[in-house]
Amino acid sequence: MKYKSLVILLFIFCAFTLSAAQEDAVPVDTVQLDSILPPAPVSNLTAQDNKNDHGHGITLQWELSPDDAAGQNTVLSYDVFRWVPFFMDTLQSIQDSLTGAEGTMAKQLRKQRDQAIAMIPQAHKSYPENGEWRKIGTAFSGQTAYEDVGVKERESPDYMADHTDYYYRVDAVTFDPAIRASSEIVGPVQSSGQLFNTGRIPVFVAVIVFGFLTIFFVARAKKGADLYVRPLAGIEAVDDAIGRATEMGKPILYVLGLGTADMIATIASFTILGRVAKRVAEYQTELIVPCYDPIVMTVAQETTKAAFLDAGRPDAFKEDTVYFVTQSQFAYVAAVNGTMLRELPATNIYMGKFFAESLLLAETGALAGSIQIAGTDEIAQLPFFIVACDYTLIGEELYAASAYLGREPILLGSLKAQDYAKAAVIILAIVGVVAAALEWTAFTGLFRVID
């Protein structure tokens, strides 16, 4: 009986040692790596500072190694190396100790770090002594360029100092990292920030030309040139709608949309609100303005109060005409929908930035039987406003509304400038298509914006 258990024990012991041994031994049919000759290195490697950037960036370019997808077809990727002085490690140690430090210790370490950062260009001058080649990145097979880009924040680990001599080398690597070929060294090259982004010249020209057009036509309008402006149904409807609300003795609901106060659509909506509030003050109808963004609420209160002042009825302005609801999209819509069904406003005016909730507002307004006028520059929401509202100002018409409502010559003057700019765009587009057809890329290239 005893022997049987002993034998079993022995057997288990052997099996155990066998499998353990098997683990250490190199598995049987490993990949037989036939001996690979080192590939040919990349040729004429160049490095220069990135143009039109804030500095901290150098681009390397080279010609593919002959063994990349050709010849021995063994090159898998390219390792990019930069010569880094050991001084950078001491700087890094200061940075690490700085993150943990507090109070006066931190202030002192920060001063030490800033001095060290100022020393970086100096340290790079000691090439090739007391420094080493370090791999900074990999390019894949078939690629002939690599961007060595750092950041401008001095405390971050991949900060890359400007105006410093950098040296680069590129290795063609096969799938066995040990087998590689190094290119010749390129350098010194320095990175720096440019003062003018030449890629954005077309935008610069457009802004300047448009600026002069506006100033020119506004000045002409001041001298009393009569300006014809085609009727806009949506805007004429605003006046009748306010009249209708007064007759029915029901309030007007004005929604400024979900935009923040620095969005131009919302700013255009402020000016429309100002004009609507002035007429409301004259006709003494009730105005309800639920707001989504606290700053929009503040500006809207300011606009409405001043409009009541202009209409000579400062006492009629009630503090809670313009009130804050909440800053979350669908909670705001739930509240405004509830207000619509309870106050049953005669007119709903939606002007500004609207997103998915546009149809929720418009359909509930239709349910409450109100006349609805909408205006937005959110293209995705225009179909819903057009379907569900009585009048819709499409995109640009929202921006023209304030000029129409105010009828001031200088505002109409700026509309004229917009029309001339549109005419210029149309002509350029036509000439551009003809140029493209004639392969005259020099002309079309003028309009290309490189961001």
Binding site: R200, V229, T298, E302, Q327, G338, I394, Q418, V433, A436
Partner: protein
Amino acid sequence: MDFGTFLWITLGAFLTLSTFSFLYKDNPFYKIAEHLVVGVSAGYWVVILWYNGLVPNLFQMLNDGDWYYLWLNSSRPWYLIPAILGVLMWTRFSQKYAWVSRWPLAVYIGMGTGVAIPLEMSNRVNKQLYATMVNINWESFWGDGFLDAAAGYSQIIIFVGAVAGLFYFFFSKAHTGVFGAVAKFGIWMLMIGFGASFGYTVMARISLFINRIQGLHGWGTAAFDVSNPNHSGWFLAFFWLLILGVAAYVVLELVKFIKHRAA
């Protein structure tokens, strides 16, 4: 799933059904859900903007200064400027000095408008203009298949439609004669485009409703999931409490509706 979680999900189901009740008419259940979500979301944003907005962007920037030096000895004293502008906004609390709040507002609006001009000119005018200058695909002018968007004729329609659309937006010229005809073709293109994108979004909206059906379906299966170890009679009790409550409300309204129609 323990009983506590099931209660929370039942509350979610209750609020889902009361929000859906808005489709029928404005009723007390919807008012509860509406006012609750307004309050809770406002509270939520106060907390989020405090932890993710004010603390990282302002307090951490000034934290190594001391309050008795008014943080002037902090490593980034210039962060006091936005803090002061922010405090100036609070002048609106008083009627007399409310006009002071116009200064921070002016800075805010000035920055917004300044940023917008080159950015919008580049993205909306320059890039779109460059995109219209495309070389018409003359080789496969008629393209292949029933309607081919990459064919030459399609590219011409895109170009002519865009230019006609711009004609429609002219303000200082009446839409009469040839100009009017081009503008009319432009607004027609706009309408076709709007109709297409309206039809395209219907599917996305329907899947939103499907998501809510799945939500309620999940709540229902949780109520009847006997294999769940801490399942108890209370699960079913709360389930039926809500379902019968809804049924009672529906019956009540039906009776009112029939009485109204009879009268």
